[in-house]
C-alpha cells in the first residue's frame, strides 16, 4: 500500500515536470525566453493600454492632464541620474508632462528595441544608437524626421552626421553626447613604482613590464563579453595606426583593407597585451573588470570617458587618465571621439506634441549643461558653451585640442551587410587576445567578410 502511494505521488510530480518540459517542445517557444528583459520595463508594457484609451489621449492637451512619456535606453548605469536630476529639471518646467526612463541592458537593447517597435509596445522616446542601426529604424518608419524641431539649429553637421540620411535630407535624432576612448590608471600604483604616463608604444609596454615584474596586475580587461576587446582595445588604440579619419574614410572608399599593416599592427598590440592581463581573463566579464580596477587590484584599464562617474564613485584611490599611445614619439595623435547617443521619437507615439517638447528641451543649452555635468564623460555635441566641473572630464575634453578626432570605423556604412562588421570585430578581437587567432588571420577573416557584400572593397 505504501509503495502504491509513493508511486502515485511520484506520478503527480512527474506530470508536473513533464508538462513543464513539454511546454518547450515547440521551437516557437524560444522567443518567450527573451521576454524577461522586456518585462523588466513595466512602464512600456502599461503604456500600450493607456494609448488605446483614445478619449483620454485626445482630451489630454486640452484639459491639461498629465501625459506620461517613456524613454527607451541602453544606459541602465544612468538610471539614477535621469530620475534624480535630468527628469525633475524638465518636469519643473513642464509640469503636465511626466517622463519615465526605462533602460534595457546594453547588449540586449537593439534586439529588444526592434522587437518592441515591431510589436508596437516601444516607448515614446527612443535613445538612438549612432549611424546605421538608427538609420534603418528611420527608413522602416519607426522614427520620425525631426528637421523642423525647434532647437535643431544648435547642432553642427559633424554632430548630426551620425543621425542623418545618406543624402543629408532628414535628421531623425537629437544628438546628445559623444564619448572619448583612453586609458584609466591607478595613480597610487604608478607613484609607488615612480612610473610616468606612457605616451609611446615602447613606454606603454615598459610600464606594463615594470608592473608585472613587481607582482602587480598591469592591465585590466576580460574577453568574455567580446565587445571590450573590440571597443576598448581595437577602436581605442587603432586610430593611431590607421590615422583616424583618413584610415576610416579609406576603408569606406575601398582604398584600404583590413589586411593592411595598420590593422595587423593593432591586433598585434592586443595579442601583446595578453600576458599582462589578469589570470583567466578569457572568462572575465565587463563588470568583473570594472570591479577589479576600482578595487585597486589592477593598474591600467583601457576604456573610455563613460566610466568617469562610476569610477569616481567606486575607486578608493587617485584616478588618472592617459590618451592612447602613439607608435613613435612625436607622431600626430588620434582619439576616438565617438558620437554615441542621440534621442528620437517613436513614429507611433500617442503623444507626439509632448515628445517633441521634450526633444526640443534636449536640444537646449540647459540640457547640454545639465547632462554634461550630471554625466561627466559624456560630452555634449551641441554648440552650447558648457563648462565642466569634473577634472577628469576636462582632461578627456582637452585631448580634442592636441589630437585629431575620429569615430569607430565599423559604425558608418560598413556594418550594413552580412556578415555584420561590428559583430565580426568583436569576435576576432576577442579571439586574437585569447590567442586562438593570429592578427593576420583576423585581418583576413574581416576582409573576406567585408568583400562579400561591400562593393568598393
Amino acid at each position: 500500500m505504501r509503495k502504491l502511494l509513493t508511486i502515485i505521488s511520484l506520478l503527480v510530480v512527474l506530470s508536473v515536470v513533464l508538462t513543464a518540459c513539454g511546454g518547450g517542445a515547440a521551437p516557437t517557444q524560444a522567443p518567450a525566453a527573451t521576454e524577461p528583459p522586456a518585462a523588466t520595463e513595466p512602464s512600456a508594457a502599461t503604456e500600450a493600454p493607456a494609448a488605446t484609451e483614445a478619449p483620454a489621449a485626445t482630451e489630454a492637451p486640452a484639459a491639461g492632464e498629465a501625459v506620461t512619456l517613456t524613454i527607451e535606453s541602453w544606459r541602465n548605469d544612468d538610471l539614477s541620474i535621469w530620475t534624480d536630476k535630468i527628469i525633475p529639471a524638465f518636469e519643473a518646467k513642464y509640469p503636465n508632462i511626466h517622463v519615465v526612463f526605462a533602460p534595457t541592458a546594453p547588449a540586449e537593447y537593439n534586439g529588444v528595441l526592434n522587437t518592441k517597435l515591431q510589436g508596437g509596445t516601444a516607448g515614446d522616446l527612443i535613445t538612438c544608437r549612432p549611424f546605421d542601426a538608427s538609420l534603418e529604424l528611420f527608413q522602416q518608419g519607426y522614427l520620425t524626421s525631426l528637421n523642423d524641431l525647434p532647437g535643431m539649429e544648435n547642432f553642427g553637421d559633424v554632430a548630426k552626421s551620425a543621425w542623418i540620411t545618406d543624402d543629408n535630407k532628414d535628421v531623425f535624432c537629437v544628438p546628445m553626447a559623444s564619448v572619448i576612448h583612453g586609458f584609466f590608471y591607478n595613480k597610487d600604483t604608478f607613484d609607488k613604482y615612480s612610473l610616468q604616463e606612457p605616451t609611446t608604444r615602447e613606454e606603454f609596454f615598459n610600464v606594463l613590464k615594470t608592473l608585472k615584474d613587481n607582482g602587480e596586475t598591469p592591465l585590466v580587461m576580460g574577453t568574455a563579453d567580446q565587445w571590450e576587446a573590440a571597443t576598448m582595445g581595437f577602436q581605442n588604440i587603432g586610430p593611431e595606426y590607421w590615422k583616424g579619419e583618413e584610415g576610416r574614410q579609406a576603408l569606406i572608399k575601398g582604398t584600404a583593407k583590413f589586411t593592411d599593416e595598420p590593422y595587423i599592427k593593432t591586433w598585434q598590440d592586443l595579442a601583446d597585451w595578453a600576458p599582462y592581463l589578469p589570470e583567466g581573463y578569457e572568462a572575465e566579464k565587463y563588470p568583473d573588470s570594472q570591479t577589479l580596477f576600482t578595487l585597486g587590484k589592477g593598474a591600467i584599464y583601457p576604456t573610455g570617458s563613460w566610466e568617469i562617474s562610476q569610477f569616481e564613485k567606486d575607486a578608493g584611490f587617485n584616478l588618472g587618465i592617459f590618451k592612447p599611445y602613439v607608435e613613435n614619439a612625436g607622431d600626430q595623435c588620434y582619439i576616438s571621439d565617438h558620437t554615441d547617443i542621440a534621442m528620437g521619437m517613436n513614429a507611433k507615439t500617442a503623444h507626439s506634441e509632448e515628445a517633441k517638447t521634450f526633444l526640443s528641451w534636449v536640444a537646449s543649452d540647459e540640457f547640454a549643461a545639465l547632462y554634461a555635468n550630471a554625466l561627466p564623460g559624456f560630452f555634449p555635441l551641441s554648440n552650447a558653451k558648457v563648462t565642466l566641473d569634473d577634472p577628469l572630464a576636462n582632461e578627456f575634453l582637452s585631448w580634442r585640442q592636441e589630437c585629431k578626432s575620429t569615430i569607430r570605423n565599423s559604425y558608418q556604412i560598413l556594418s550594413r551587410g552580412e556578415p555584420n562588421l561590428e559583430n565580426e570585430l568583436w569576435r576576432v578581437s576577442a579571439a586574437v587576445m585569447n590567442g586562438s587567432m593570429t592578427p593576420e588571420q583576423a585581418g583576413q577573416e574581416i576582409q573576406t567578410g567585408l568583400e562579400k557584400w561591400y562593393k568598393p572593397q
Partner: protein
Amino acid sequence: MQSSKRRSQIPVHVLVFLAPAVLLYTIFMVVPLINSLRLSFFEIVNQNQQNFAGLQNYIKLFTNSNFAPFFWRALRNNFVFFAVHMLVQNPIGLLLAALLAEGGRVRDFFRTIIFMPTVLSVVIIGFVWQLILNPLWGVAESILKAVGLGAWFGPWLGKPETALVTVALISVWQFVGIPMILFYAALIGIPDELTEAARVDGSTAWDTFWRIKFPLILPTVGIVGVLTFVGNFNAFDLIYTMKGANAGPDFSTDIMGTFFYRTFFGQQLQLGNPTMGATVAAMMFLIILAGVLVYMFLWARRVQTYEM
C-alpha cells in the same frame, strides 16, 4: 436504433470536454507554430509588405556563406551538448535512482536535494556557476588548490575548447534530477517478488540489476532519451544567460537556440531577420520531429513492455 442514438451522443460529450484544452492548445501552440512555419516561406520587403519566397530562405540557409557555416556549427555544437547529457546526465541519473531505490533512511532527503536545482531559475543557475567558476573571485580554484589540484583550474568558460562542455555540464547538474526521478519511479514499480526470486536463485545484486531490473525499465530509458533530445535541441536560456547571444568565445557555445535568437532578433549593429529566423526555427522543429519519430518507430515499438 437505440444503439445508433447512443453512438451519436458520445462525440458531443467528448467534444465538450475536449474543447477547452483543444482551444487553448490551438490558440497558443498550433497557430503560432504554423504561422512561424508560414513565415519561413516569405521575405519581408518593408513594414507592410511580405512577399512569398518559396524555398528561397531554406536555400539561403544551406548555401549562403553567412548562414550555412553557422547552421552547421550550431548543429554540431548541439549534438555535443546532447552527447554530454546522454553520456553524463542519464547514466548518473540511473545510478542515483538505483541507489535511492535500495532504500535507506536518508532517501527522501537526497531525493529532494538532487531534484532541487531543476526547479531553480536558470538565471540563478547561470549566475551562481559563473561566480563559482570565475577565475578572479570564484571558489572553484580555491577548492581545487586546497586538494592540491590548483594547476588543473582554468578559465573554462572563456576558452573555446572547454566552454561548450562546461556549459553542458552545468546544464547536467541542473537537470540530473529529472532522469533520476523517472528511473526511480520505474525501479520502485518492479515487484519485490521478482528480485526475491532472483536472489533465491543465487543472482548477485549486479546481475539482478542488469538482467532483471534494467530490461524492465527499458521503456523509461527510451522516454528519458527522447526528453533529453527534445530539451537539448530547444536549449537556449542557459547559454544566453551565461554567454550572451553571441555565444562566445568565437561562437564555440553557439547552439540552435542562440543561432535562432541572433538571426531573429539581431545583435548590436546587426538587425533582426524574422523570416530567416523562422527558417532556423523550422529546421529546429524538423530536427526535433525527426528525433521523436526515430524514438517512436525504432525504439518504442521494439522494446518489450512487461506487465508487472
